[in-house]
């Protein structure tokens, strides 16, 4: 986990934004913990925000490329498929 923290130290502003987003999403998921339909919609929204953040983060770092975006896209897609099948 230390390595993850080191990465965060390099770009604190980008990760503060991501951290705030994740906290907000976690609160929403907790509020709607008994409503799986709303939880599913929140996860779709989170996946969209995660992709938007990836574009912002890598653009600012100057290493935005198609292969990096595909990596984020596949992870988001995988999360959506699992959530849609489970909740």
């Amino acid at each position: 986990m230390m390595t993850v923290f080191r990465e965060i130290k390099k770009h604190p502003q980008n990760f503060i934004i991501l951290f705030i987003l994740f906290i907000g999403i976690s609160v929403l998921l907790f509020i709607f913990r008994f409503d799986s339909h709303s939880q599913r919609r929140i996860v779709y929204f989170t996946a969209g925000l995660y992709l938007a953040w990836s574009l912002y983060h890598h653009y600012r770092r100057g290493d935005l490329s198609l292969s990096i975006f595909i990596e984020y896209l596949l992870l988001a897609l995988f999360a959506l498929i699992v959530v849609a099948a489970t909740l």
Binding site: T3, V4, L18, S26, I70, E71, L75, F78, V82, A85
Partner: protein, 279 residues
Amino acid sequence: MKRFLSRLFIPQESNNHRALILQPSFLGLFIAVYLLNQSLLQSLTIARPGILGYSSEITADKVWTLTNQERQSQNLPALQYNSVLSESATAKAKNMFQQNYWAHTSPKGLSPWDFFRQAGYQYSVAGENLAKDFYDTESLIKAWMNSPTHRANIINDKYQEIGIGVVNGVLNGMKTTLVVEHFGTPLDGRVLASTPPSSTVNTVQNFGPVSSIKPINPALISKTLGLIMFLIIIGVLIVDSYITLKNRTSRLTGSSAGHVGFLLIILALLIFSRQGTIF
């Protein structure tokens, strides 16, 4: 084999300093495997209806007791058990199995109030709570109490009577238990003394013979597979970023911290997601 496993999990020169599992082709493979699992489960519901589903310990008696406990905790009088309301609730649950739907209004347009009338219950106020796929009564009541609209029915001081239908059957190819609560107050204001609900659970078979073996829970299979895959990806992400930073390797990849954060939220959601659906 050892070399392949090493390339799969550990970043090195032969995998372009990125564990194979984290490369787009393998992430695509994870998605394909998961979708294949879903298709197999779906095929099974069509080919062998009743093999998949939920087994339940719920009885009308327990639902009645716990519903009244919730009312008493709010200083409200207990609801009397009415056998006519129980008939309407059971008829509603059976109708959902027979016509294969999950809603307050049937595909033919029958509303909950039609079931009250068909059973011969004349009401001044009435309400309906629905639930499916719950294993135990405590979780079911907890889910209803945490939903504002269902809770409003349970602790409504205008209701004096209740009838409960607990019916097993096959809905959309999967075995499940439907629970229907019908609340009401008789139009003439005459509340009869309670007739305790029967502990027998009705069964409807609308998709041919249903096997007596314990059904396989499809949501549990999908959840377990999803959890295993998420844990593998998170674990490899942490190992991958540790080795890369240790070796000071420069490469063009996504942010491990971002990926781990996103996957941890989904992982927590999967772990803490609850059983059952209410309507």
